[in-house]
């Protein structure tokens, strides 16, 4: 069986993105890795101690994020809480996913770059097959990076996200045994499948969008800019709200965090962002083709799409990268918040203008 030369070409490009993805994961997740390692050590210590004094412990309860038991010797409850580490794991998980998504976006832009478009289009290959090859290459990167994430998750999170797996193996002195620890495997497998589906669906969807939309680069640039605009916008709203005591800033962040962590997966948010951005662009095209007839129908709908695109883009940003750079700035005064909001407004204006210019 011979591999198509164009697939080879795309896969060669993809390898650089896999390597870059690994570097980004390692670089941006260094703090989380360090915390995980420290946590793993402290859990080892706890587990050794637990095993040594096992005969003194009763009412042992192992939950998703804690181990509780009663020490008969002094009648005190002891527990090992790993909730913080669980969140640390989520941060790392989000960053890994973020790295994969960024790499897939960049890869798609590269594969669709103008440099070789003319050359590729002359080749005796149907366009749909070229798209298919690109999609396959994107999927290949997605799957490889996903496997790398799985290995990272398995190694670094074994004591928190899969606490039962860890506790069972550590406390009962059973070596890490896939067959005996069925519950752990099931959870791990379920997580892996869920993540894989998201990544693969995301990668496939990106390729699909590139196939149907002639300006992929614009779509992804807009997608990225909208993340930042919305981040700036939300932060600005939060600061203003806090400043004028409209509502509690922490409550707002909790709300964001809830959405980020539980309600919607990062890729679902990204897909929603891209969907609304493209929907807006299509509506504009439609408006233009019909010489602005039906203006009152398309116009508000288009801006609603932009607004929703930005809204989901903002949450995508939170969920995907979990960067929280702005929240780490020690003091944000009134002037800074005004600047942030103006910046957000300017960026929004820039996006819309750029989009309209490009379509014209």
């Amino acid at each position: 069986m011979t591999i198509h030369p164009l697939f080879k070409r795309y896969f060669n490009i993809s390898i650089w993105y896999i390597l870059a993805g690994i570097v980004i994961i390692l670089f941006f997740s260094a703090a989380e890795f360090k915390l995980s390692l420290e946590y793993n050590k402290s859990f080892d210590k706890f587990a050794d101690n637990f095993i040594a004094n096992k005969q003194n412990y009763t009412e042992i309860k192992i939950t998703d994020d804690a181990i509780n038991c009663l020490d008969k010797s002094d009648n005190q409850y002891i527990y090992f809480n790993c909730r913080n580490y669980f969140y640390n794991a989520l941060d790392l998980y989000s960053k890994c996913l973020g790295a994969v998504v960024i790499m897939l976006l960049c890869l798609n832009i590269n594969l669709f770059s103008d440099e070789n478009r003319e050359f590729i289009n002359v080749l005796p290959i149907k366009k749909q097959n070229i798209y298919l090859l690109r999609a396959l290459s994107t999927l290949a990167v997605a799957i490889i990076l996903d496997i790398i994430i799985a290995v990272i998750v398995l190694y670094f999170f074994r004591y928190n996200q899969y606490i039962q797996l860890a506790v069972m193996s550590k406390i009962s002195k059973i070596d890490f045994n896939w067959i005996n620890d069925f519950y752990g495997i099931k959870r791990f497998a379920a997580d892996f499948v869920h993540r894989s589906l998201l990544i693969v669906a995301g990668a496939g969807f990106l390729s699909f969008l590139n196939t149907i939309f002639s300006k992929p680069r614009l779509v992804f640039i807009l997608g990225f800019i909208s993340f930042f605009v919305t981040l700036a916008g939300f932060k600005g709203i939060a600061i203003f709200a806090d400043y004028f005591s409209l509502f509690n800033k922490n409550a707002f962040y909790t709300f964001c965090s809830d959405i980020e962590n539980y309600s919607l997966s990062p890729i679902s948010l990204i897909l929603l962002t891209i969907f609304f951005t493209i929907a807006g662009a299509f509506l504009y095209k439609k408006e233009k083709n019909e010489n602005r007839q039906g203006f009152f129908m398309f116009y508000p709908l288009r801006y609603l799409c932009y607004a929703l695109g930005s809204f989901f883009g903002g949450f995508s940003f939170f969920a995907m990268i979990n960067l929280k750079i702005l929240s780490h700035i020690p003091k944000i005064n009134m002037l800074t918040s005004i600047i942030i909001v103006i910046f957000g407004a300017f960026m929004a204006f820039f996006i819309i203008k750029k989009l309209i210019d490009t379509l014209e």
Binding site: P5, K8, E115, E118, V122, P124, I125, E360
Partner: protein
């Protein structure tokens, strides 16, 4: 062999090519000339299947080109930019081409590279424009195309390479009855090379025929008048250039009536002088501006 039938292509409302029709017979060389932005490259890109015409059809051996790999396999295309994978070297490109085109001949490539002598291990990104043009020419000729499309193939080439390339082209036409569609701003080359020429202005074909026919149609005369003549009555039919006391008149509608008119305006003698393709092209350009 090649049938371009009433194609129109526009970009965001701007009509780049307007109702263009060209027929090219098998084993002939057809040149397309025009100013920058006249629509030559757009016609070429439609012909090679890069663009889909908005209207009309492009057929090669009665089969449509766009999205038709069977037909595209028969087309070699040398573009002005010579775009390739910049991170590949020539060896990798040969491998790529032989994987894509069943007809790719390594022997042919080696034969051509014996003339151009390009280092096969050098990365394409590090090559000069002339070298890229040569490798594009060699790779595309090595697929043994039935139709060879060239867009400004000699730009960036030194005179020796230019001559070598054009000789290879004519050899191939002679040996394999290859059909060539070529655009160039070097009109003297095209005049030497082409069996037929199309002149394109503002996306429309203004002249299309053999070079000899065009030369029979667009003619130039030197005319000596007794006095300063009033040529306003024939101004819309002719282009006038005066050097010393001699008037050089170029026209595509010379007939007995025009000749008589010139004599009636005081012409002492009218003598036809030869025109080259470049002069014909400049004439067509001036006429269009007048219209």
């Amino acid at each position: 062999m090649i049938e371009i039938k009433n194609i129109t292509k526009s970009f965001n409302g701007y009509i780049a090519v307007d109702n263009v029709s060209i027929n090219v017979k098998k084993g002939t060389i057809h040149g397309i000339i025009g100013e920058n932005g006249a629509g030559k490259t757009t016609v070429i890109k439609c012909l090679t299947g890069i663009y889909k015409p908005d209207k009309g059809k492009i057929l090669i051996d009665a089969n449509e080109v766009y999205e038709n790999p069977t037909v595209k396999e028969k087309i070699g295309y040398v573009s002005d930019g010579g775009s390739f994978f910049n991170d590949y070297n020539l060896l990798s490109m040969i491998k790529f081409y032989s994987g894509i085109y069943k007809t790719f001949s390594k022997e042919k490539f080696d034969e051509l590279n014996n003339v151009f002598n390009i280092d096969t291990k050098k990365k394409i990104g590090r090559m000069s424009k002339g070298q890229k043009m040569r490798i594009s020419f060699m790779l595309n000729l090595s697929i043994l195309p039935e139709v060879f499309v060239l867009d400004e193939p000699t730009s960036g080439l030194d005179p020796i390479a230019k001559r070598q390339l054009l000789n290879m082209l004519t050899d191939e036409v002679e040996k394999r009855q290859m059909t060539v569609f070529i655009s160039s701003h070097h009109l003297s080359e095209l005049e030497r090379l082409c069996d037929e020429i199309s002149i394109i202005n503002n996306g429309r074909i203004t002249y299309q025929s053999s070079i000899d026919s065009i030369k029979q149609q667009v003619r130039r005369f030197q005319v000596l008048f007794k006095n300063n003549p009033d040529l306003s009555s024939v101004k819309d039919k002719i282009e006038i250039e005066k050097i010393g006391s001699i008037y050089y008149i170029t026209t595509d509608s010379f007939d007995k009536g025009l000749e008589d008119t010139l004599y009636s305006l005081g012409a002492e003698f009218i003598e036809e002088i030869g025109m080259n393709l470049e002069e014909i092209f400049i004439y067509t350009h001036q006429r269009r501006n007048k219209i």
